[in-house]
């Protein structure tokens, strides 16, 4: 069989260069093309979801109802959340995995290249459905991104059916993407690339992919129950039929909690790649990083009900979920400790990716601490559904996940394009984002502790000053991202100084040591030998 195979390869060896035209992007099987598609899609969705956040902040700029009506405000909070979670953060990480995992483990491409393309192209269609539902009679989904029953069943509008099916196809996309990543890592590593030699980005994505395959089907299950409850008279979430609205929350958060780790584990991987490079030291505690990632992933399956402390669960359940949740801070603490210990006595330089990485470490840790406060059951009764929660998850998702994605783009962009990006613009982007994002989210802690509820278009007068500043921070953060857009357009036009193959002085790993910059269309068609 192998002789036949040898022969037929020759037919394929000729196309080392990217084909051109629209068909290249529609029909591609190349992991770098698909990675680029994912990343641009995620960025467009980031701006779209961001525009919705601007609507929210404009309405909240002062107390009273002035710009949008409450129903539309609800649609904005809902679709903003859905887009940022499923349209921006997750596709961006999948895009990075597509670009980087094959290069990092010495594989010629993803394991299942055609399925890879399918997973991507489902996404634009899924979001087309979700976004177009906003223009239907009665409006789009307005029940919050967590679509709790009975808001999403008894009290929702007809567009819920479209919401359900768009979530279904998003899930199909995620599951196929995750299967591709996991199989690539299991089956495509170059000779000598043992488990404990794999770069941490690969490790964290391996575990993320496992989480995705385990929980996306549960999301599909819960939206299906919602659909049949709303349209076909089933009683999963209806007490009159023997069901329970709280059941919705259990099933949803069984998906939802691992989901938040899906959005942060790859970020841990990225930071673990960047910090050693610019500290010019190997990562401190590599093995403990791997075990910590796996522990976080396993624990993520037994903490879901900490989102539901105020639903009236038995005390023993509340205690179990409180302690299990707090346990997660142990492996997370190991990670933060290791990043700091990597920097300790290193020869640190502060290039753009490192600046984002350090901002990540500080601000993500802050978000982790507020998470620890929320985990304490008795005080959560005060914090639940307030802006304190909003502050918490935006610190871990914006200055956590999104900052890590930006760090990753700045770190690997020169490898992808072969040119250094515009450093001046990048510095503007960093400092504007850093200052505005804290102006945006930090005061939310205060208004939240004082009792300002989330997802409400109006608020008590006492919160007026803080909200004005929050909104100004929001607009500034939104505008700062346009600097990033300008920088990316320049980078894609291949403007800038050519870079060396290694790009960054302290960078280590196959993609820096064995591949030229820019990385050619096909890489590692014959696997490298890793020593």
């Amino acid at each position: 069989m192998s002789t036949v195979a040898e022969h037929s390869h020759d037919d394929h060896d000729h196309h080392h260069h990217a084909p051109s035209g629209i068909k290249r992007w529609l029909y591609t099987t190349n992991h770098k093309d698909i990675g680029t598609l994912y990343l641009w899609f995620a960025f467009i969705m980031f701006l779209t979801g961001g525009a919705m956040a601007m609507v929210i902040r404009a309405e909240l700029f002062q107390p009273g109802l002035q710009i949008v009506d409450p129903n539309f405000f609800n649609q904005m909070t809902t679709v903003h959340g859905l887009i940022m979670v499923f349209g921006a953060v997750m596709p961006a990480f999948t895009g990075l995995a597509n670009w980087l995992v094959p290069m990092m483990i010495g594989a010629p491409d993803m394991a299942l290249p055609r399925m890879n393309n399918w997973s991507f192209w489902i996404l634009p269609f899924a979001f087309l459905i979700l976004l177009s539902s906003l223009f239907l009679e009665g409006g789009g989904p307005n029940f919050g991104w967590t679509f709790y029953a009975p808001l999403s069943t008894t009290y929702s509008n007809d567009s819920t059916a479209l919401f359900v099916f768009s979530v279904h196809i998003m899930g199909i996309s995620s599951i196929m993407g995750a299967i591709n990543v996991i199989v690539t890592i299991f089956n495509m590593r170059a000779p000598g690339m043992n488990w404990m030699k794999m770069p941490l980005f690969v490790w964290t994505w391996l575990i993320t992919a496992f989480l995705l395959i385990a929980v996306m089907p549960v999301l599909a299950g819960v939206v299906t129950m919602l659909l049949t409850d709303k349209f076909f008279g089933t009683s999963f979430f209806d007490a009159a039929g023997g069901g329970d609205p709280v059941l919705f929350q259990h099933v949803f958060w069984f998906f939802g909690h691992p989901e938040v780790y899906i959005m942060i584990l790859p970020a841990f991987g990225i930071i673990s790649q960047i910090v050693p490079t610019f500290s010019r030291k190997p990562l401190f505690g590599y093995a403990s990083m791997v075990y910590a990632t796996a522990s976080i992933a396993l624990l993520s399956f037994v903490v879901w009900a900490h989102h539901m402390f105020t639903t009236g669960m038995p005390v023993a359940t509340e205690l179990f979920f409180m302690f299990a949740t707090m346990l997660i801070s142990v492996p997370t603490g190991v990670k933060v400790f290791n990043w700091v210990a990597t920097m300790w006595r290193g020869s640190i330089t502060f290039e753009i990716p490192m600046m984002f990485a350090i901002a990540f470490i500080v601000l993500f840790t802050l978000g982790g601490f507020s998470g620890l406060m929320l985990a304490i059951t008795p005080v959560d009764f005060q914090y639940h559904d307030t802006y304190f929660v909003v502050a918490h998850f935006h610190y871990v998702l914006v200055t956590g996940a999104i900052f890590s994605i930006m760090a990753a783009v700045y770190y690997w962009l020169p490898k992808w394009t072969g040119k250094m990006f515009d450093i001046t613009l990048a510095k503007w982007h960093f400092w504007c984002s850093l200052i505005s994002v804290n102006l945006l989210f930090f005061p939310m802690h205060f208004v939240g502790l004082a009792g300002m509820p989330r997802r409400i278009p109006d608020y008590a007068l006492q919160f007026a000053d803080f909200n004005k500043w929050i909104s100004i921070g929001g607009f500034a953060f939104g505008l700062s991202q346009l600097i990033f857009l300008a920088l990316l357009i320049k980078a894609c036009k291949k403007e800038g100084e050519p870079v060396s193959d290694r790009v960054w002085e302290g960078a280590e790993g196959l993609e820096w040591e064995q591949l030229p910059s820019p990385a050619p269309y096909h890489t590692f068609e014959t696997p490298p030998v890793v020593k």
Partner: protein
Amino acid sequence: MTEQAYEKYYVPDESPWPFVGAVALFLIAVGAGNFVIEVSKDKEGYGGWILTAGLLVLLVMLIGWFKDQIEESRTGLHSNQLGGSYRQGMSWFIFSEVMFFAAFFGALYYARTISIPWLGGASNNAMTNEVLWPTFEAAWPLISTPGGETTEAMGWYGLPLANTIILLLSSVTCHFAHVGLEQENRKKLTWMLGITILFGIVFLFLQVEEYIHAYTQMGLTLESGVYGSTFFMLTGFHGMHVTLGTIMLIVMFFRVLKGHFTPDNHFAFQATSWYWHFVDVVWVMLFFFVYIL
């Protein structure tokens, strides 16, 4: 592992099928969404047509994609390593299916052990019962809901038991078909595969009979409380999986008749047989937790 016999990993050229597949899913999602609204509201609309169009495009995509795939496999482009990717991919896909069913089993356990007892006043919920539905008494199967719907419980003997035996036997025949393939005993392969398909079809037929019986004779419907919801959703999704599995087996049957598959190159057959065994295991779980207990 040095420079020795390394088979190049086959990375396919550009292919239109994934994009066609994405269009198909788009049409299916839009169509199904509108269809559901139209059916439940008794409205006129195009939902059903869009859904049908989507399913047709999906069918065209599947035929085209698998045709390419089979040709590549039969011209020997696939290395053992690629076979490994397929096998691992299929295993993870089945794992995702397990988790999908887990969501519905979870709902079943929750209803039985938590929500219904609580509605009946168990634990510290005496007031829940008193205030909401004082006459409600917790029971499983829930033949009388708090809201006042009544139904009959589905027994495990009769059709369900027959179906269990049929599906278990089909798993055995499916296994022997695989053994026949590995022994290059085409006759055994063809017969055993044919019998498996027959069992699958009989199972589905009996399942439809059972549904008709439930709806017309027993008053057990989707709308008869959480017992009906979990019963029909679990057995219904299982039935959809059996349907898909049967279609896969039929495709394998025609490929066997065309002389496809060798003892060391039959991923499609193996994947189908894994899928069939998975469907069987899910049924055994269903039989215990939905019918018997």
